[in-house]
Symmetry: C2
Subunit: 170 residues, 2 copies
Amino acid sequence: MSNSYANLMQMKKMLGNLDAWLTKGAESAATRGFDPALLLTARLAPDQYTLPRQIQAACDAAKLAAARLSGTEPPKHPDTETTLAELHARIATVTAYLDSFKASDFDGAEGRAVPLGFAPGKVMSGDDYIHEMATANFYFHIVTAYAILRHNGVALGKADYIGGLTWRDA
Amino acid sequence: MSNSYANLMQMKKMLGNLDAWLTKGAESAATRGFDPALLLTARLAPDQYTLPRQIQAACDAAKLAAARLSGTEPPKHPDTETTLAELHARIATVTAYLDSFKASDFDGAEGRAVPLGFAPGKVMSGDDYIHEMATANFYFHIVTAYAILRHNGVALGKADYIGGLTWRDA
């Protein structure tokens, strides 16, 4: 399996974990007696994205990585979500998009020239793009979303963050 | 270059970024007129690690990934740091350790059987370990350290987080 595809499958897994954190957030709000929608106003600093915007950015990071590394046009997903249900749906949409690829769609992706909108006239190699931009940026938004929920008292732990692992017999 | 080695070089880069965030944190404290050491008491939730412990965990995540993927014994780095200077030194120590490897030390690492202390009798493949554990865990602590500084008013932005990118002419 190409490293590009393995990275995207890991992003898909982490988006599934994020979906479960959101569900735990809503349960925590219900238990503590406040409107779960209040979690959607939360952010860690006044000049940083709110929880919904972090989720939208994580979804876009995965979507753009898949499109750029496969050399295809990404679908447009306008950032219109304002409810927990809509955020769950956004995660489901990008998960289905990632599932629409097969491993061979990324054959040679590491050597592909990846242009980025903010740097006209320049490209990154697919391999550099995966490590320096796609993975780093994806985890930025995933971990910040987790941190916002933890900061607001949602009982998440490292096992929720990491999720299941692929074990083999020693 | 193997994907394992490329991942470790990206971790090294992010540790360099983290080092710069710490410096900006100290500068921010000086500008705002409080003791920079107060930042070392900060955490995002009462039951989450403080900033120094996040930094130590990020350093260990990189160190353990290098050791496990090269099939070598990691050095011990006891978590004794209590000052900003000592945290900078910890980052420098693990950076030098990462630099002690060459790309060929990770030949075949993706297929290596990686045991983890908390799962006796089981192993992960090197490839699964990189994506599911090493990278995810490393970014968890790196981004949380960043988030703690941002939450405490240190003026960091996405460019500080991502750092320099490897561009080529289009």
